[in-house]
């Protein structure tokens, strides 16, 4: 039926494995599917362009991919840092540093001047620090590579962190914290993270910080946070676009000439404590639609079970309307516009959750369906056909990871940053193919715990179809 083969070698396959998707076990259920099963599709011939990896003298790892189709240039730096390394009493420090690095200009170029220069040449330099990584990006036209690179390097090495820009950013963050409770889904996600992780673990915090911690952050904190992490030996670069490799390496060496290798010290991040507990949380908000999140701790990005878990989740609730949870909550019963499950992976244990929004009057019904589906996928092996559907989707969508040279390079940078095998893309299809029905059931049982799940609901429980405490004792969270 689906005889799609990437002509043996969508990606370089040293062992020469053939990636043929097993035809579906069952017969096509509809007349349309039967006709489609007779279609012959030509093999897709595509060899992804080869990305080069070089290490410069100062320790910078650089991925390069020349692409001369359009006069464009992109460079991105991935820096090992993140909100996990900030002290709890200064929560928000990493994120603030990541923002003001750019918004505050550099020692030699004030922010206004930088804004004018970049915007006039339609280029951009943007910076950010997230929970577990930092990044700096430059996008410029080919003709502006030199000017752009200079600013890019200057922002990485010499940000000025002027007081007035720090104040401005603090005020913006304070306003956005003030507004968090206007958005039911934002409340739900924030509170869910807070109840899921131990309050001492940095994963339990918002990376934006709180009204109290933000005011404690000083300019000196930001300068030293930046100085500690933004080092050549702590960064991975990705370059794509209309450039010449040798020339660009010369240019990189020139603009980063003053940037020295330095040992980076990382504060210890405690291990996520594995705690599973059945519990129910409720946040009152005057809305006519309940916002539900339920779940528990998930997996690490580097989990050896990553592929079977992703396929399992596709079948359970990640694979759009065709997956089980949205299939029942949305498609069968019309209870929600959005209903899905997801594994958010992180360096340590991430989050597994099911989310949906449903009118107050069907809140318990929707939660019950999700719980039933979690139990079902643990108890009963998935159909062969469901697994084939999931695998074919992963395999046939693979080509869309290669649509632009910038996205190809970004993936290579990401793979090395996450500590995944450097041949991750080359082995991706095989890793999908080898997953069996037994694997799916094994990982469902190992990583899903419907009996020890946390259920959090934002809404107006007076209108719910059944009392929320039918799922357990309700802990009420008061909004400040």
């Amino acid at each position: 039926m689906f005889s799609m083969v990437y002509s043996g070698s969508l990606v370089a396959q040293p062992q020469g494995h053939e990636h043929v998707v097993t035809p579906p076990a069952g017969k096509p259920e509809s007349e349309g599917a039967r006709i489609v099963s007779g279609f012959k599709f030509k093999p897709l011939n595509f060899v992804p362009p080869k990305v080069e990896r070089v290490v410069l003298e100062n320790g910078m790892v650089v991925y390069l991919l020349e692409d001369h189709d359009l006069p464009l240039f992109n460079i991105t730096a991935r820096v090992r840092t993140g909100a996990v390394y900030e002290p709890p009493e200064k929560a928000g420090l990493a994120s603030m540093t990541g923002y003001v690095m750019r918004s505050g200009g550099t020692m030699s170029m004030p922010a206004d001047k930088m804004n004018e220069e970049l915007e006039f040449m339609a280029a951009s330099v943007e910076t950010s620090i997230d929970r577990e990584s930092g990044s700096v990006n430059l996008s410029a036209l080919k003709k502006d590579i030199d000017k752009g690179l200079k600013i890019f390097a200057d922002v990485i090495m010499n940000p000025a962190f002027p007081e007035e820009k720090i104040r401005m950013r603090k005020d913006e963050v304070i306003e956005s914290i003030r507004r968090e409770n206007d958005n039911p889904s934002q409340i739900a996600h924030r509170e869910f993270r807070r109840v899921l992780y131990d309050s001492k673990h940095p994963y339990s915090r918002k990376i934006e910080g709180t009204l109290e911690t933000i005011e404690k952050i000083t300019r000196e904190d930001m300068i030293s946070f930046h100085k500690n992490y933004f080092r050549p030996n702590n960064s991975i670069f990705g370059i794509s676009g209309d450039f010449n490799k040798d020339e660009i390496i010369r240019k990189l060496n020139a603009v980063f000439s003053g940037w020295k290798k330095e040992e980076v010290c990382f504060p210890e991040v405690p291990k996520v404590e594995s705690r599973f507990e059945k519990s129910v949380y409720y946040v009152y908000k005057d809305i006519n639609q309940a916002n539900v999140i339920m779940g528990h701790l998930g997996i690490q990005r580097r989990s050896p079970d990553y592929f079977p878990v992703m396929l399992m989740n596709f079948i359970l609730g990640g694979g759009s309307f065709t997956a089980r949870i949205p299939g029942r909550i949305r498609s069968d019963e019309g209870l929600a516009y959005s209903a899905y499950s997801a594994f958010q992976t992180a360096r340590d244990l991430g989050i597994f959750f099911v989310a949906c929004q449903t009118k107050s009057e069907s809140t318990n019904r929707a939660i019950s369906i999700a719980l039933e589906e979690l139990e079902k996928i643990c108890k009963t092996p998935v159909d062969k056909e469901e697994l084939v559907q999931a695998k074919e989707t992963f395999v046939n969508q693979f080509i869309f990871r290669f649509t632009t040279s910038a996205s190809i390079v970004a993936q290579k940078v990401d793979i090395e940053y996450e500590g995944l095998p450097l041949n991750y893309l080359e082995t991706y299809l095989e890793n999908v193919q080898v997953v069996t029905q037994n694997d799916i059931q094994r990982v469902a049982r190992k990583y899903l715990h419907p009996d020890k799940i946390r259920i959090l609901v934002v809404g107006d429980r007076e209108k719910f179809d059944k009392p929320l405490d039918s799922f357990g004792k309700v802990n009420v969270i008061e909004l400040k």
Binding site: F120, E172, S176, R178, K285, I287, R330, Y337, K359, T404
Partner: protein, 515 residues
């Protein structure tokens, strides 16, 4: 359509197959090949062979502007129904299913008539009808192949599989590996020919949930809905694309079927293909699958013209949220020469950290955390809109006067050459960047074809380069005038438990879908 889409249109020198033409920047055009079938179906093709994918769009020239009070939201509901299958997809046996679907409709009508009697309704009759309906639905569920169109596309590698409805058009998106073109032609032509409205009532409920999510419980969604309802007093742009709550709840299958026949005809549709394909073979393929679909009489144009506004309008929305402000001004429809200067004006006001509103409202006065201007270009005259988020303790009133102050400055003295050139540079670069994406190009070609003509893209830069600083002053004076504006403010509601009681009683009475 907002400026974001527009800003991606530009002309550029490049060697790839996307373009024809010579060496000067303004002489290059998107090399779109056009083919029209006998039944009026238009095919727009742009080759881009770097990656073996095809980005496919089927756009219908119908949106909420074509609706009428009573069925507002029908275009969008129909967009959802398009994924529910046809006579051959999504069903194990259509001949067995058809009488059951008819029976379901009949029972739903009877039930709704009985319930409408209110106090005097026959409760026993309602109960027995409900029971009967549940029986029918049980049988129907056994015949359905769940979301088959969606799952077939996915397993063949579809990416970006989605659909969208706007005031002016309905858009179906599907990117596929290049070898799957025939699968797409088969499914899409079948959807145009043989659509079946199955799972209609549950999907109507899904749309109600979408409305609660995007509008009723979202401050920004509510603000925009109310703003439009006051900006337009006659023209259909005044109702929301998702539809008014009571209309969505009561749309019938008959309303939807009539709509389908009239607007989902080949002569009201356009197909866009961007990517790695052979145009001649593709024309043959499209002829083979879509060629036999009969055309329909041309759908009627919207005749209602929004009367000239005779003074400022103001609307206040109470909601449990921090404040927002939006101000709109009427502008002309696509094709009017003033729109290019208005594009520059909106960029001048709010694109980037060197824009006027960013520097003044956010950086200097520090009264806002977001301030943006949008030039919404549509098929019929739409609006130029300003939206801002105040920073406490600053008020929407402060934002309003600061915004007028900036507008007055532009009305009195032209923007600098540097500013105008910066904006032109950015629009040019945005266009080059967008050429990277076959998907983005397919969207743009399709969107402009729905509004008027995809060639808008090829003339855009020429037109834009002719705009002078004085033109910007002129259009600011002409359109951003007090008597042409509507001001909407969302203000925090007192947290009163009693207010909320009245809001949902209506919907609570409606039949819940049988579990």
């Amino acid at each position: 359509m907002n400026k974001k889409t527009l800003s991606s249109i530009f002309l550029v020198i490049t060697s790839i197959a996307l373009f024809t033409g010579g060496s000067s920047a303004n002489s290059l055009k998107l090399d779109v090949k056009e083919h029209v079938l006998k039944n009026g179906l238009k095919l727009l093709m742009l080759e881009k062979h770097d990656v073996p994918i095809v980005c496919l769009r089927v756009n219908y020239k119908v949106g909420s502007v074509d609706e009428r009070p009573g069925i507002t939201g029908v275009s969008h509901l129909f967009e959802h129904m398009m994924f529910k299958g046809t006579k051959i997809f999504g069903t194990k046996d259509y001949t067995a299913e058809k009488p059951l679907l008819d029976k379901e409709d009949d029972l739903v009508t009877k039930l709704s008539n009985e319930r409408d009697k209110g106090e005097s309704a026959d409760k026993k009759r309602i109960e027995s009808l409900e029971k009967e309906l549940e029986e029918v639905r049980k049988k129907l569920r056994e015949l359905v192949v769940k979301d088959e169109v969606f799952s077939l596309y996915l397993r063949h590698g579809a990416s970006g599989l989605n659909a969208a409805t706007s005031t002016d058009g309905t858009y179906y998106f599907c990117d596929l590996p290049a070898n799957k073109l025939e699968l797409w032609a088969f499914i899409e032509s079948d959807r145009m020919k043989n659509l079946v409205l199955r799972e209609f009532y549950s999907e109507r409920d899904v749309v109600m949930e979408e409305r609660r999510l995007r509008t009723e419980n979202s401050p920004m969604g509510l603000l925009v809905e109310q703003l439009n309802a006051v900006t337009f007093i006659a023209h259909p742009y005044r109702w929301p694309t998702i539809g008014w709550r009571s209309d969505v709840q009561n749309i019938t299958k008959t309303d939807t079927e009539e709509y389908f026949k009239r607007y989902y005809a080949p002569n009201n549709a356009v197909i866009i293909i961007v990517g790695d394909f052979n145009p001649d073979e593709t024309v043959k393929l499209v002829e083979k699958y879509f060629g036999d679909i009969p055309s329909q009489p041309a759908p009627p144009k919207v005749k209602t013209v929004e009367p000239e506004q005779r003074g400022e309008r103001r609307v206040e929305i109470e909601f449990e949220s921090n404040p927002f402000i939006a101000i709109s001004y009427h502008i002309p429809a696509i094709g009017h020469p003033d729109l290019y200067a208005l594009d520059i004006l909106s960029s001048l006001l709010s694109d980037g950290r060197t824009s006027r509103l960013y520097k003044s409202l956010i950086e200097e006065k520090r009264i806002a955390v977001m301030a943006h201007a949008y030039n919404d270009i549509s098929k019929y005259p739409d609006a130029f809109t300003f939206i801002a988020v105040p920073r406490a303790p600053h008020t929407v009133a402060e934002i309003e006067s600061a915004f007028y102050e900036e507008v007055e400055k532009i009305k009195k003295s032209p923007p600098s050459d540097w500013e105008v050139q910066k904006i032109k540079n950015q629009l040019e670069a945005d266009f080059i960047r967008d050429l990277n994406s076959a998907s983005g190009l397919a969207n743009e070609i399709g969107e402009f074809e729905v509004l008027s003509d995809w060639r808008y893209i090829n003339t855009f830069m020429d037109k834009l380069s002719q705009v002078t600083a004085e033109d910007v002053v002129r259009v600011a004076n002409k359109y951003l005038a007090k008597n042409n504006r509507t001001v909407a403010m969302l203000v925090k509601k007192e947290n009163n438990q009693k207010i909320k009681e009245t809001k949902e009683t209506n919907s609570a009475k409606k039949p819940a879908l049988a579990h």
